[in-house]
């Protein structure tokens, strides 16, 4: 999936794209001083990509830009990108942004009467670049130019001259091109033949009745880049690409422990979870996941840590009320600034949008602890493959930032069972806690076990637990229960009367 290698020191100089995540995928940015074709179907985000590249150059790198617009008049571009907070009119006044208006004029289809060249366009681009001292140029789109000149042999030859000029000016150029289909030939008119070196494809695919945007770097001359498709989102700040974060993180692993908010559970885990670990709590509806999440958060706040909760199943007010019932004052914790609960409906956005929203919220709040309840709610809005990528990216992101995290997963059946979330997450989580309803002696009880813990010994017992106004209480181990991980776990047929008494939650440990 990813041919991640050590930074390639021999590769060409790069120009930061200004598109979050893309420079990770391209290992540094667009090839500086060269041209990149960005091709995609209508509505795939090409013009946003191009405008963001210019805007970021001006805003973040003091690199003025020239926008050669061939389809939408300058006024339309100004209006469209203003919604991303890019004040093109001001940059034009400041002499940092300049349009070359190559749109078809209203004086009708021009008559062609003999040989021509595009010297006027070349002269205008060169003049605009000189006037603002541009380091970046956008041509949007090549297809609109093609249609003005019927794409004849002269035009193809002249387009080579335009590209040659841009190359000689040393500017980094983004050229957009139209594609008819998200998969198939690279562009409608084969424009990649003009710029054979660098090609990025944008896709906007309908899958499981949902749009999924993705980006693929098809080729970058003389430079390494990550292969495959990367999801992206168009946020109020522009395009944001979701890189597949490397889960083989060479950062030193933390040996420091953090409390899960329950002394018995901490003891089962050998003294708490590691600071930079990701814990998965799996259970059916009503099995105690939200309580465990609340305990985890309250323990963080008690230790003076900033805690961020992403609630995809219950609204914030509902969280406050539930927590109150277990003795946690979340309203006060929020007021004190140590807790923030972000509640969202899974269906309002794509997984890519959710991941970008989650990482943005984490960057804004700077938490030491993060809880997501439940992660499996997001399974509803994506294909299994997209969800797997999302889960891996999220987990890798949390670990990379050294955040103590707890993710919950709702199992589809009440007794035992496993969800897809667990299958996807088992390899990237450090600790898995199963909460299950257990049938013992004809009665349903609640049981808990630590299935796996990376890098530490843990207790393999299945423990009963009860819940009251002070939270969760672990009871004695079940000694004769089997099949907890299967559908319908039940007590062993040879359970003695003593054994069936063992899981009484409020009993002291034997």
């Amino acid at each position: 999936m990813s041919d991640r290698a050590a930074p390639d020191r021999t590769s060409a100089r790069r120009s930061p794209s200004g598109i979050p995540g893309l420079d990770l995928v391209t290992k540094g940015g667009l090839p500086a001083g060269r041209s990149v074709v960005v091709a995609g179907t209508s509505g795939s985000g090409k013009t946003v990509f191009a405008s963001q590249f210019l805007s970021a150059g001006i805003r973040d790198h003091d690199e003025p830009g020239v926008f050669v617009t061939c389809e939408e008049p300058p006024a339309g571009i100004r209006d469209n990108v203003a919604s991303f907070g890019w004040d093109v009119a001001r940059w034009e006044r400041d002499g940092a942004w300049r349009f070359v208006d190559a749109t078809r004029q209203l004086d009708g289809m021009p008559v062609h009467a003999g040989g021509y060249d595009l010297t006027a366009l070349l002269a205008r681009i060169e003049d605009a670049v000189a006037r603002v001292g541009a380091r970046r140029v956008v041509v949007d789109s090549l297809d609109a130019l093609f249609t003005q000149f019927a794409g004849d042999a002269t035009f193809r030859h002249e387009l080579h001259r335009v590209l040659g000029l841009l190359n000689s000016l040393g500017v980094t150029t983004v050229l957009t091109a139209e594609r008819d289909h998200d998969y198939g030939p690279n562009s409608r008119r084969g424009v990649e033949e003009f710029v054979a070196d660098n090609l990025i494809l944008l896709r906007n695919v309908l899958s499981s009745e949902r749009r999924r945007r993705s980006l693929e770097v098809v080729k970058f001359r003389g430079a390494t880049h990550d292969r495959g498709e990367f999801g992206f989102s168009i946020t109020p700040d522009g395009i944001s690409v979701i890189p597949h974060l490397d889960i083989r993180d060479d950062r030193a692993m933390s040996v420091e422990r953090a409390s899960l908010g329950n002394a018995d559970l901490d003891a089962m885990c050998g003294g708490g979870v590691f600071r930079d670990s990701v814990t998965l709590v799996s259970g059916a509806a009503g099995s105690g996941k939200t309580l465990l999440t609340a305990s985890f958060v309250a323990a963080g706040v008690a230790a003076g840590e900033r805690c961020l909760v992403f609630a995809f199943e219950e609204r914030r007010e509902q969280w406050h009320r539930n927590a109150q019932g277990w003795g946690f004052d979340f309203v006060r914790m929020e007021r004190d600034g140590l807790l923030d609960i972000v509640s969202d409906y899974p269906e309002v956005a794509t997984l890519e949008d959710h991941l970008v929203a989650i990482t943005s919220a984490i960057e804004a709040f700077g938490p030491q602890r993060v809880a997501v309840d439940s992660l499996s709610a997001l399974e509803r809005v994506a294909t299994p493959d997209a969800f797997r990528k999302f889960a891996v990216s999220l987990s890798a992101y949390l670990k990379h930032h050294g955040i103590t995290s707890l993710l919950t997963s709702t199992t589809p059946t009440f007794l035992g069972g496993a969800s897809h979330t667990e299958a996807h997450l088992s390899t990237v989580t450090d600790l898995i806690i199963l909460l299950r309803h257990v049938e013992v002696g004809g009665a349903l009880q609640r049981g808990l076990t630590v299935l796996k813990m990376r890098g530490s010994r843990h207790d393999h017992d299945v423990r009963a637990f009860s819940v009251d106004a002070h939270g969760m209480h672990l009871g004695a181990p079940y000694d004769r229960t089997f099949g907890l991980l299967e559908d319908g776990p039940s007590a062993h047929p040879r359970t003695t009367p003593d054994g069936s008494r063992a899981p009484e939650a409020d009993e002291p440990d034997p």
Partner: protein, 100 residues
């Protein structure tokens, strides 16, 4: 008072530029003697004028008046297409009494 106003955008002293200037001058002298005004603009000298007129290709001939504006791209060697584009062929030109 000239009734035809033209702008011809050319690229320096290239052969194609000279060809277009010559073709247009001949055509105007034949069909519109004393009734036309022609400005020749070198886009390499005045890119800002090309920008203002939205000219991409050279040579480009703009008929500014009479309206509507007409835009003709190329070295103007295809005389029949130029005449048709400018409305100097057939009925229109006959009304002016310029074309036999």
């Amino acid at each position: 008072m000239p009734s035809f106003r033209f702008e011809l955008y050319v690229a320096g002293d290239a052969p194609r530029s000279r060809l277009a200037i010559r073709a247009l001058t001949d055509l105007c002298e034949e069909h519109l003697p004393g009734r036309y005004e022609l400005s020749v603009i070198d886009v390499t000298e005045h890119p800002e004028l090309a920008e203002r007129a939205h000219v991409l290709a050279t040579p480009t001939l703009l008929r500014l008046s009479p309206t509507p504006r007409v835009r003709i791209i190329g070295d103007l060697r295809l005389t029949a297409k130029v005449l048709a584009g400018l409305g100097l062929d057939g009925a229109t030109a006959n009304d002016d009494g310029e074309v036999p």
